[in-house]
């Protein structure tokens, strides 16, 4: 099936339901947004409020990367995106402009602030920021959480803001006591001088609001850190052990009704006819709403909505994809893989080198499936549409799009939409979609009441934006000593960028889809990477580590195959080919060393290794694997991580364990299949999850005091696990694994 505009429109329109195109059309910070150095922090406090600082976090913006410092440029309006409030009672409140979906951002960011502000971390309270221009995530040019960016974006500016606040408090104290500021020290939420004066931050907050923020406050030497780089418990844990943390699904505004939504079983289908009479007879059902491409039932509670949905009689116009199947999709991807694609990397002359190698070329094809996100909290949102505006309570990763989607569908200006971000019961990229927001807004508008739209698990599995299915053609040639001299990697995968941007790809290339393939780190003189997009009617979206999730598997399995062909040890082979990649080599060596690479393992077990860089972080993993009852069993995983400056090793450890479970679940079980245009899986009985009895013992070693650039940590632990396990299985069985999920 070929790509058509119309087909795409019908598939995507109801998924995104918002005008997102402009959000993806360029780097987050434009030149005009540049700020002068003194403008990175401003006093924003009203009288009586203590000290309130508004902070601008340019973070990983292009301007910051090119060395412009906070704000980077010269002119433009001050655009704060974080707030620090020091109350007259001394309480420090930090307004977090990120979504907490398990990655620990509500702990990591306050740690940065507390370190420079000189307050105990436990004294910092966090609040989620409402959606407003002030809270734009500067990397995306919009407020959202993704791409393992949160810590990277805040690392410098947030510490600077903490330092500025501390200096203002010190300066206020010095003025009050009529002493030189240099005689004062700040520690533990207090300022004191050598002469017996002492005051708490709370006592100084009002006065500090009259001080001018310093232009470029110096930061602590990392060796003096007392909070950063140390294991510290997460600040949100106590709310998550007693049921008090409020997730989206827990929101209950007065008078709220519950909505359930029946969607076309085939992507892009529309309602042909609807008979709502039986549904309306279900006790507790208030309203049935025909939304054109889906049907909503508004009821007293979830159970009535679910029963109402069962009683709906809907005939669907299934649209152009009604006969789509996994088999046909695989054939389409394979066919594309046979012809040259858009070139993404071209070193040397790969074609000539492969021709020269003739029959000695090693060729392998890899096939990986569609994957669902399977967030534990099913999709949901609550909306209250009124004539004068709209409130949305949502576990969203993308507040700006939520605001725009709600405004458009409610028929109000986006500035009249208040987005209240709740805790997210898993995100993994899924909650940047806006389909669940649209459900709540449309049903609230139709019902004239607040409505919480709640998806079933089956809805969430069958109407996901999936990690795209993908096909790869790899060709490589070795010289006489077994060194690779040519490497050709063709990636065929439906483009997420095209979906997200709503724009056709430029020159047929999605540079995100080849991330990790273009970055193939081994020293090979002739390298070519090319790419084919494919529109096959199945929604695709960002999934944890995105395209790295498949390109990592392919690159790391292929290099293992080459080591095997060359008769070399796969760890030493990689090590030798990474002479120019010191950070890769550092984590590779560390993982191999900690795992005892090369030592004798219990009978029937083997080690497999993989190393991969994504989101600026480097991770190597050694998996110890056996085959039990015809199934792979992963006993241990030794992981080594270099993410540059370390904020909280405990959270890094947790994120790596998490990414390993997510990736291993996919490698062992993940397989969304399509038949008659329909997703064949629905719930955890046919879309399996790794459980505690299959959990490998994971040990995480973090490179401390790294000189590497700061990297993200939410995703980079994922790409190496599948290839590490597959490479161990190849060592056990002699047969390469080129298809996921794994069958041995």
């Amino acid at each position: 099936m070929a790509w058509t505009e119309e087909g795409a429109d019908s598939v995507w329109a109801n998924l995104v339901s918002g005008d997102l195109a402009h959000l993806a059309d360029g780097p987050g910070v434009r030149a005009s947004d540049g700020l002068s150095r003194r403008d990175f922090v401003r006093v924003a406090g009203a009288a009586g409020a203590g000290l309130v600082l508004a902070v601008s976090i340019p973070g990983c913006s292009p301007a910051d990367r090119t060395g412009g410092g906070p704000g980077g440029g010269a002119k433009g309006a001050f655009a704060p995106n974080a707030w620090i409030r020091i109350g007259t009672d001394g309480e420090v409140t930090f307004v977090v402009d990120r979504s907490e979906m398990g990655q620990g951002v509500t702990t990591a960011l306050p740690m940065m602030l507390a370190e420079e502000l000189e307050v105990p971390l436990d004294d910092v309270h966090f609040e989620f920021a409402p959606a407003a221009k002030e809270y734009f995530n500067r990397i995306f040019g919009s407020q959202g959480t993704g791409g393992s960016t949160s810590v990277r974006a805040a690392w410098k500016p947030l510490r600077k803001a903490g330092a500025a606040a501390r200096m203002m408090l010190v300066s206020a104290a010095a003025r009050k006591w009529n002493v030189d500021a240099s005689t004062c020290t700040a520690a533990n939420g207090k300022v004191s001088d050598g002469a017996g004066h002492s005051a708490t931050y709370g006592e100084l907050a009002e006065a500090a609001a009259n001080e001018t923020p310093p232009e470029d406050p110096p930061l602590k030497d990392p060796k003096d850190f007392t909070i950063l780089g140390k294991r510290h418990p997460r600040l949100d844990t106590p709310f998550k052990t007693n049921g008090s943390a409020v997730f989206g699904i827990d929101v209950r505004p007065d008078g709220v009704l519950i909505g359930g939504v029946e969607r076309s079983p085939v992507y892009g289908g529309k309602v042909k006819s609807l008979d709502e009479s039986k549904a309306m007879q279900v006790p507790g059902v208030h309203k049935v709403v025909n939304l054109g491409d889906r049907v909503g039932v508004v009821a007293e509670h979830y159970w009535a909505a679910a029963k109402g949905r069962e009683a709906l009689q809907v005939e669907w116009d299934e649209g152009p994809w009604a006969d789509q199947s996994s088999e046909k999709i695989a054939a389409t991807l394979r066919r594309l893989g046979q012809k040259p694609g858009a070139v993404a990397r071209n070193d040397g002359d790969t074609d000539a080198a492969l021709r020269k190698a003739g029959s000695r070329v090693h060729e392998a094809t890899f096939d990986l499936p569609y994957l669902a996100h399977a967030c534990m909290e099913p999709m949901n949102a609550t909306a209250h549409v009124r004539a004068d505006g709209c409130d949305v309570w949502a576990p969203t990763q993308f507040q700006t799009a939520t605001q725009q989607t709600a405004g458009k569908l409610a028929g109000v200006d986006p500035s009249k939409v208040r987005v209240h971000t709740t805790y997210l019961g898993g995100g993994f990229g899924r909650r940047a979609m806006q389909d669940f927001i649209a459900d709540a807004v449309l049903l609230s508008k139709a019902a004239g009441a607040p409505v919480k739209a709640v998806w079933s698990r089956e809805d969430a599995t069958r109407h996901d934006g999936y990690r795209p299915a993908n096909h790869h053609v790899l060709r490589a040639a070795l010289d006489g000593s077994g060194h690779p001299v040519a490497w050709s990697h063709r990636v065929v995968a439906p483009s997420i960028t095209r979906v997200f941007s709503g724009q056709p790809l430029k020159n047929g290339l999605d540079s995100e889809a080849v991330e990790g393939a273009v970055g193939m780190p081994y020293a090979i003189p002739n390298v070519q990477v090319d790419y084919h997009d494919a529109e096959v009617g199945v929604p695709v979206w960002f999934w944890r580590s995105v395209n790295n999730s498949f390109n990592g598997m392919v690159v790391e399995c292929m290099i293992d195959e080459l080591a095997h062909l060359a008769g070399k040890d796969p760890y030493r082979y990689r090590h030798d080919l990474l002479a120019d990649k010191p950070v890769h080599r550092r984590v590779l060596d560390l993982a191999a060393d900690k795992a005892g690479w090369g030592r004798r393992l219990p009978a029937g077990r083997a080690h497999g290794i993989a190393v991969f860089e994504s989101f600026n972080s480097h991770v190597a993993q050694v998996a110890e694997v056996s085959i039990e009852k015809g199934k792979p069993r992963v006993h241990r995983v030794m992981a080594a991580v270099d993410c540059g400056p370390v904020v909280n090793p405990s959270i890094i450890e947790a994120q790596v364990q998490s990414a390993i479970v997510y990736g291993l679940t996919a490698a062992l079980y993940g397989d969304i299949t399509i038949e008659n245009g329909r997703c064949q899986q629905g719930n955890f009985n046919d879309y399996l999850m790794l459980r505690i009895d299959e959990m490998p013992e994971v040990e995480v070693h973090v490179v401390m005091d790294s000189d590497a650039e700061q990297g993200g940590m939410g995703e980079p632990g994922l790409p190496p696990i599948a290839p590490a396990v597959c490479n161990a299985l190849r060592a056990l069985t002699g047969k390469p694994i080129r298809k996921l999920p794994i069958h041995v």
């Binding site: 418990p233 997730f247 209950r252 979830y302 019961g425 998490s658 009985n685 999850m689």
Partner: protein
């Protein structure tokens, strides 16, 4: 039908369909939202509560079958996060997104009520019905051993 339920030591009178799962009565009618919806078919354990001390899946428990049984939800496990399992969860910093953790904690508390010092195999058996998509399993295992120690010191 009108039913009187005993939840966390309080009595609640509700008027709901008799086939309505306890989960939705707790969440949408009584307003105790700590018990979570994950799958609706008893596959994930997010809705685990105690019925007369036994761990049950509230999503598969029709409200009419509860009778005079005493229901304990995460909100009723302790008033102040002081149950040994809660303390152990905090000590080991278990939760990530936290969504499944109510169910994990209720399953773990039921395990420890019956088996004071569970082995790893006991933990596998009792906890494999609880899915965690964030992959907190390793810390859950450790926290259950910690909770057993904490409870043992109190006994």
């Amino acid at each position: 039908m009108s039913i009187t339920l005993s939840v966390n030591g309080s009595s609640h009178q509700v008027d709901v369909p008799d086939d309505m799962p306890l989960l939705w009565v707790l969440r949408d009618v009584i307003g105790l939202t700590g018990t979570k919806f994950g799958c609706g078919i008893g596959q994930c354990g997010a809705c685990t509560v105690h019925l007369d001390g036994q761990a049950v899946r509230a999503c598969l428990t029709p409200v009419s079958t509860v009778g005079s049984g005493k229901i304990t939800t995460i909100e009723g496990l302790s008033d102040d996060n002081s149950h040994p399992v809660q303390r152990a969860w905090i000590q080991e910093d278990v939760p990530q997104c936290g969504y499944c953790q109510s169910g994990q904690i209720m399953s773990a508390a039921a395990l420890l009520a019956g088996t004071a010092t569970p082995s790893d195999a006991d933990i596998d058996r009792a906890m494999k019905g609880n899915i965690c998509r964030c992959g907190t399993y390793q810390r859950i295992r450790k926290a259950i051993h910690t909770a057993a120690d904490l409870a043992g010191k109190e006994a």
